[in-house]
Symmetry: C2
Subunit: 199 residues, 2 copies
Amino acid sequence: MKPSGAYHHGDLERALKTETVRLLATTEADAISLREVARNVGVDHRAAYRHFADRETLIADVAEDGYCALSAQLEAGLAKHAEEGAVHRLLQFARAYVQFSLKEPGYYRAMIRPRLVDKDRPADAGDAALAILEREVRKGIASGEFADDDVTELAVGLWSHLHGLASLIAGRRLYVKPSIAVAYTNRIFERSLRGLQQR
Amino acid sequence: MKPSGAYHHGDLERALKTETVRLLATTEADAISLREVARNVGVDHRAAYRHFADRETLIADVAEDGYCALSAQLEAGLAKHAEEGAVHRLLQFARAYVQFSLKEPGYYRAMIRPRLVDKDRPADAGDAALAILEREVRKGIASGEFADDDVTELAVGLWSHLHGLASLIAGRRLYVKPSIAVAYTNRIFERSLRGLQQR
DNA sequence: ACCTGAACACCGTTCAAGT
DNA sequence: ACCTGAACACCGTTCAAGT
């Protein structure tokens, strides 16, 4: 909190997004207000409109940042398993995804928010993260580990399963002890993955 | 809309829930207000507090009704496949689940809402729907169709996958042409299910 | 029992004005 | 450019009062 009357001097956009993530870590998106975010940053709430079109855009921008961070984590994890087969790499992908959802609940909650409208949106960071998954699935088909089905359909299948698991936990609709959550979800994902394999 | 000044005469609780479902069919939960629901029903917004503790409870009660309706649909579908094996029955389960989410987006949106707190809640209608899935999985293990793993873990795995698929669609984060949505999600679920099978 | 008048402390958002 | 004073039309919720 800053003394009022002073300018924010610095990256207000960054500060507002960071505070939003901080609040989202413990609360759902509809329970936080633009005014509260601005108040906590020490700025009049109308200052936010200089950086974001509206409340929804603020959260959408946070989600975008979150998807970028997730992609980075996914790639970092995969880089450590460069020599492994597709199954191993996808299990690593799942581990990184779930870990991200647990360690960054603020970002994750923004990322899984329902979209209010299906607008003609340009490809976003969420698509980029899904593209990583598609790439790995494609490798698995090329290596003969997976059956030669539609790549997008396979990727969407795995993506939706991870989304389902992590969002049930993030939305408090499924309780899994945090200490075992990664192992638990990985066993489930592993079984799901088995269904893709060549037999 | 009724002329103001008159009593609602009738089941106001039912009327408020029905209107909430109607609004949720096209809008997200945080975009509808208790005042709007009451206004559309032709009643002062404070009348709602006679029936629901607060706005959140209204939506939670709608969700509860939705889970009851879903359970009924699931059982009705399964009843038509009484003689089939567990795999077939679970595919029927998946079809009924996805169909419900598509035909009743208002109920479904209420059902998948994040919980605001993890309170010590009594077993609810959502647990009952999951219990149906557990029962079917148990049958599959008993018949030797599925490997003898932890029943709850297997059921949570399938449940989360259906939830992930249907909620991505309901939340407009995944677009699937409505005409092929059931077939599409069923293929994905079938693959996931394959991972549970004895080999 | 069921409903509302009046009121409170909040929202998101806009416009015109300050530095 | 970046920020705010004043204002508007909304919220959710409570309390005391009407039929």
